[in-house]
Symmetry: C2
Subunit: 341 residues, 2 copies
Amino acid sequence: MSDPQRVVVLAHEKFPDHAKTATGVLKYADYDVVAVLDRDKPGTSTADHRRDLPDVPIVSSMADAPDADALLVGIAPIGGGFDETWREDVRTALERGCDVIAGLHYFLNDDMEFSTLAEEYGCDINDVRKPHDDIGVAQGKSADVDAEVVLTVGTDCSVGKMTATLELVEAAREQGIDAGFIPTGQTGIMIAGWGNPVDRVVSDFTAGAVEEMILEKGDEYDVLFVEGQGSIVHPAYSAVTCGILHGAMADKLVLCHESTREAIHGYESFSLPDLSEYVSLYENLAAPVHEAEIVAGALNTSNIDDDEEAAAAVEAYGDDIDAPAIDPVRFDATDLIDEVF
Amino acid sequence: MSDPQRVVVLAHEKFPDHAKTATGVLKYADYDVVAVLDRDKPGTSTADHRRDLPDVPIVSSMADAPDADALLVGIAPIGGGFDETWREDVRTALERGCDVIAGLHYFLNDDMEFSTLAEEYGCDINDVRKPHDDIGVAQGKSADVDAEVVLTVGTDCSVGKMTATLELVEAAREQGIDAGFIPTGQTGIMIAGWGNPVDRVVSDFTAGAVEEMILEKGDEYDVLFVEGQGSIVHPAYSAVTCGILHGAMADKLVLCHESTREAIHGYESFSLPDLSEYVSLYENLAAPVHEAEIVAGALNTSNIDDDEEAAAAVEAYGDDIDAPAIDPVRFDATDLIDEVF
């Protein structure tokens, strides 16, 4: 990915609740978001819609956006296609010399109009969901790096693994720990500005795609926090989870869960096993490749309104998994760092 | 894949010991192999080289081969490339109107000379390692089919999972059981004449690639035997193993092992865990998606010369995994069928 400084984020009609990538980038990316595009909310600010977000103006279109060096597509329709109502914004961006960053299944580089404009105006189109061609089979070498490796694992998809990972990185850095982030999914890649989309590589290369990143960054940091994906008990996505577990060769695991989740999201006939069962599943599966211990839990309590109730849920979760637990968004992730190290 | 009747198998300089695909096809495919190409051994017969193979003439080149409707590439160089010394044979085959079947990483359909010849002579080129475009995410529905599903799982790669699966299918059929074979790798696909190369699909679709096949065949048979891949403790390939385990939603597992294996093949610093550990790893990992029990073991004793010693190894293996065990190639797979059902 290019290294943008000033970014406009496209989130038409979806900001903030259905714009996970947009809000993730706003909260965690190092570059400046200078505007959000949402044609339903021009004239408002991102902070008007969610108080935990930085104060960024919302405008109707790229034509109204301030000076920037990249346009980032911060939403994805079901199926990952390109919404034709976005075409004018992408065209305007390229004509203004902005790079375009997208994580769609539809690769913008394969769009003739966009690729022609990009060449004409000297811009890059970054399709972050397209794996690079050199990813190959894992060598089993991730444990050789200097850094300690901490991996977030989950009870299901969409429980907050990426957010927990990024909160852990920030909290670690605040405590003076030299911490790096290893992104494995499209939003993580857009936030970090680099990374392999592990769920899109050839299945034989799943572990290799993670290992490549660990070997690249593992001697630059004292600790690497690896973004996990899926769940080891997911009927569709467990392969990716297993490949990341063995490819990362993590020393420590943080088990992420969403407080109201009882069945696999979208696969409601599959109940989640007991929370304690996850601890033995992940630890026993990791061990033959590299010993790893679940050292902490991260509970996503965003579905609980009351703070006291949320705190009680966190405590109960810690008891269930027999490890210290926190909601790193609602409460202070610093406590979790003390437990992890 | 096309449905050939008379097949020539290319195995130049590698037959039989480094031609796993060629020997697998000779032993297990329903179609007739009418000749093997090995320029080092013309005038001999396959049975001269290995007594368990049917008696098929070996010739130097496609020009010397009898009438056939397909040429199958039965060897793969390291890296999966195309060996240019095979070009004349492939050209001759296409000019004779034969289809060409290959499982290389290099897709013969992308070779301009071959694709032009195929069109000119009305032949198909089947690159079995290229997944079709409609493979998608698993729905968690494999358990809905009528057939009982039996999956081979392994302690490592290359321990004999495909062979054990095919022996089980044959033994089951001999006992009058209506058994189907679900291939997941290139050789299995070439033997069966259809199937998804699960190790080459997008990682998110690993389980889905297996599920698609189970749903397609699951109401046609009373039992499906699914060819496993890799091992759940493999540093590089465990993702594929895990995806097949959850995608197949198997009712019963057969644990395959090679009698002299002590470390992961090619990853010698990774010792195999205790054999009993595999039983709990596979069963515990399967359970949250679909309960599965290791009902039998298949031990590959091809590295043991003495029959009595091999029998003792099989018995010890059965004790280790606390399940009935057999070497289905060396001894009679029928015994194993009795145990599986």
